[in-house]
Symmetry: C2
Subunit: 481 residues, 2 copies
């Protein structure tokens, strides 16, 4: 028997399994841990967000592809570093060993290699899966959407990279979530910096993931981790600290670092800094430098990045900045991230042929959470259907007439509904319109049937006019536009 | 050691696992068995199909929801009869036991019960998973889309049921796939028929799944299965045969059967036949009786149906009919199916409270296959991007000017592309337009920059006009509309 006060992970899992049985063997009614259903209101918001994102992707000439929700387990192996433990595996039921996709980037690289595609600009919007500790109130789920845009192909430096940042800028501006900042760095600069500070090659990645925490932790704590957990001398950590705590900047910071005698000993860092300068030239032309900062403390966790990396964060409070420094940790989540990964496709090619790639992933769940909160707070009601007109009657025994009129409207392309009752009350039919935001009611009665007319009622204003049946379609169209 | 000539399933699976390792340890580049990637062309077709389907769902006032790709294993258990063996389970990595969804109906019922929703009209388009034997050339996959429309709620009989059929009729007509037929039957009629023919209660379901094969097998073979495999007397099978081989019909067939002294002994059959008559009354009003037939041989496999059932099939060859009789098996796949399931939600409710439901599922994969074949055969090229204009140059060193113009266009909402090279050849830029169907090229040169103009070229006609830079956005919009 375990007597320690802290519940072990194993115990928690056993408890979870037990809970599934619930009381009296009746099973528990829930969606799996870390997942959620989308109700119609949430779907309406989701559709709106996707439309904004997709229209930006299309504005930049992207096509789209789709891949299966699971991949051969082997396809995912060795791509995610320490995060591999978060991959969902399928049960071995005979046949291939499968895992749920962890992101859309690795399936994209597999797709390119498999089809020998050497250049493409594509977007892909789909759900990915991570057995992480969910924090659903903050928009962190085990099943969540990614919206990826990637440019694959051998091109001149920094042009596609800059376009990805332009797209992030466009999308976050159009979504109107408040102020944001896009941090930029380069894996080569990080690696060069680690080298000149005395980090051994085989510790680059692990130090990198410590530095990656600077947006959530104070530098003192990050330093502690580097020294105590990662086992590097304090002197080395202090040297790293001098770089990663530099105030974030733009082109001028790149120039200053290019003149840094220590950093310039690293060829990788020099190449990275030169590219950052070029990147900012293009970003100026794209008019996005108001939001983009070069930040040496940005260090994304994934193994496959080889060049430019970036991450967008919302900065809701004025003056908070949220860039670099590490003096005041900013608790605001990342809403987009990406970078250049020139080696990933080659990992799938039998001859190791590479296809250079750069891309960005929009982290939609946090954006959904914010939009949902905004919708809740707003007085405006979110409509979940597009129905233009309800066909109603105040009198009995007119079901067939209502259905006949509905058929006329449907067949003319009008979005119309009928209440599924033989003899519904007029009040309950009007109530349905109030509840769901249907703007018009076409009311049929004996008199209207004799006259070949329909009473058309505006739900909001309660005005009613008689419309000849022949004109009804045109009248509904006119009022809906 | 196995010496039988037929490769066992186990051997096949072992072979499959081996294949994953491939030559020299380099892993095999493939999507999992039974799944496929969608390339940009296929995605363009998929988008078109979805638009047609969704616009029909919205025309009938539906909202949409989404649920996770996996459910608690228990949620799916006991819902699919013999097909349960086709469910994909996730590996037990601690925590809840999960399975991939097998359809969208059971998650829908779980959603209703969990949220205590008693009426809703919703659609749901998402992928479902079945460990079936794939036949991908015929559009049968292990991962495939379902497009479901369901009406939940306590309403007057047959009104929602008829609307589902109206929607199937609308969608299949709009997709323009050729002639089709929608077969209708009722579980209560089947059960009543089995009862009066002498099938014991506990064999209804298994005989039902034999009858379900009548669209693929000759009656003689179905009868054989009922007698030899299911163990029923030949006399019973012959009696069933007399009913299920009746020529399919409409209201008049329901009337004829209502007058059948034997069948009328079954209360269930009588109730079903009365409802079929009412259904056809509404279908006449909806103007869809040209395609709908009442067919006693239709028997869908799923356990949860309780009333009306239906299935739509394409009937590409004139005169083939494809309805009932069973004399000439028709090899045309089903493209939609559904029915009434009044007991499913109650299976999830602690107090067994039921929510009557009726719905339809459009089988999209087969429709995709047909549309893809049509697109292949057609001379018209499928565009995979929506780019309106490419910004090009014939001269060197104008990259930054091209990017500047692109920024102007993007910021004005124009879909524009730039080739990612410092100094691309004009010919290769024009070739990109030919390849991807971009209709316009905006050409910049030293002269144009001095004059504040752009040369606007129509790719198809090769005509070129000078447009003042200030007018370019309006001109591109005009030509794109």
């Amino acid at each position: 028997m375990c007597v320690c006060p802290v519940q072990t992970e194993e115990m928690a899992e056993q408890l979870e399994q037990k809970e599934q049985l619930g009381d009296e063997g009746k099973h528990v009614l829930k969606a799996p841990k870390g997942t959620r259903d989308y109700n119609p209101k949430q779907m309406a918001i989701r559709e709106k967000v996707f439309n904004i994102i997709v229209s930006s992707f299309k504005r930049h000439g992207a096509e789209t592809i789709d891949t299966p929700v699971f991949e051969l387990k082997e396809t995912l192996m060795g791509k995610y570093g320490e995060d591999s433990k978060l991959i969902y595996d399928l049960k071995d039921q005979g046949g291939e060993l499968l895992s749920l996709r962890y992101d859309l980037t690795v399936p994209f690289a597999r797709y390119l290699a498999m089809n020998k595609i050497t250049n493409i600009k594509r977007y892909h919007i789909a759900k990915v899966y991570r057995r992480d500790n969910p924090a659903m109130t903050r928009g962190r789920y085990r099943e969540f959407y990614q919206c990826d845009f990637d440019i694959a192909g051998q091109y001149d430096p920094m042009i596609p990279d800059a376009e990805c940042l332009k797209i992030v800028h466009e999308i976050l501006s159009a979504l109107d979530l408040g102020d944001f900042r896009i941090k930029v760095n380069d894996r080569r600069i990080l690696d060069g910096m680690f080298a000149v500070c005395g980090v051994p090659d085989d510790k680059f990645r692990t130090v990198c993931s410590s530095v990656d925490k600077m947006d959530k932790m104070l530098w003192e704590d990050v330093k502690n981790e580097i020294v105590k957990e990662k086992g590097l001398p304090e002197k080395v950590a202090d040297q790293i600290g001098e770089y990663v705590r530099l105030q974030a900047g733009g082109m001028e910071l790149a120039e200053k670092l290019l003149a840094d005698p220590k950093l310039c000993k690293s060829e990788a860092a020099c190449a990275g800094l030169t590219d950052i300068k070029l990147l900012f030239t293009y970003l100026q032309i794209f008019k996005v430098t108001d939001k983009v900062v070069f930040d040496l403390s940005l260090a994304r966790g994934l193994d496959y990045y080889t060049g430019v990396i970036y991450e967008a964060v919302l900065t809701p409070l004025a003056g908070r900045g949220g860039t670099g420094g590490g003096e005041e940790p900013v608790g605001v989540g990342s809403v987009a991230g990406g970078g250049r990964y020139d080696g990933l496709v080659g990992m799938f090619d039998a001859k190791g042929r590479n296809v250079p790639c750069v891309g960005v992933s929009i982290g939609i769940e946090r954006i959904f959470s914010i939009m949902e909160q905004k919708a809740e707070a707003s007085a405006e009601k979110v409509r979940t259907t597009e129905t233009q007109v309800l066909i109603a009657s105040a009198q009995k025994n007119l079901l067939e007439e209502r259905l006949r009129l509905a058929t006329e409207l449907w067949d003319a392309g009008i979005k119309a509904e009928v209440v599924y009752k033989r003899n519904p009350k007029l009040l309950s039919q009007l109530q349905h319109c109030e509840d769901t935001g249907v703007p018009l009611v076409a009311i049929l009665g004996e008199q209207e049937l004799r006259d070949g007319t329909v009473k058309l009622r505006n739900v909001a204003s309660r005005e009613e006019v008689d419309v000849s049946r022949a004109d009804l379609v045109a009248e509904v169209k006119k009022r809906s536009s």
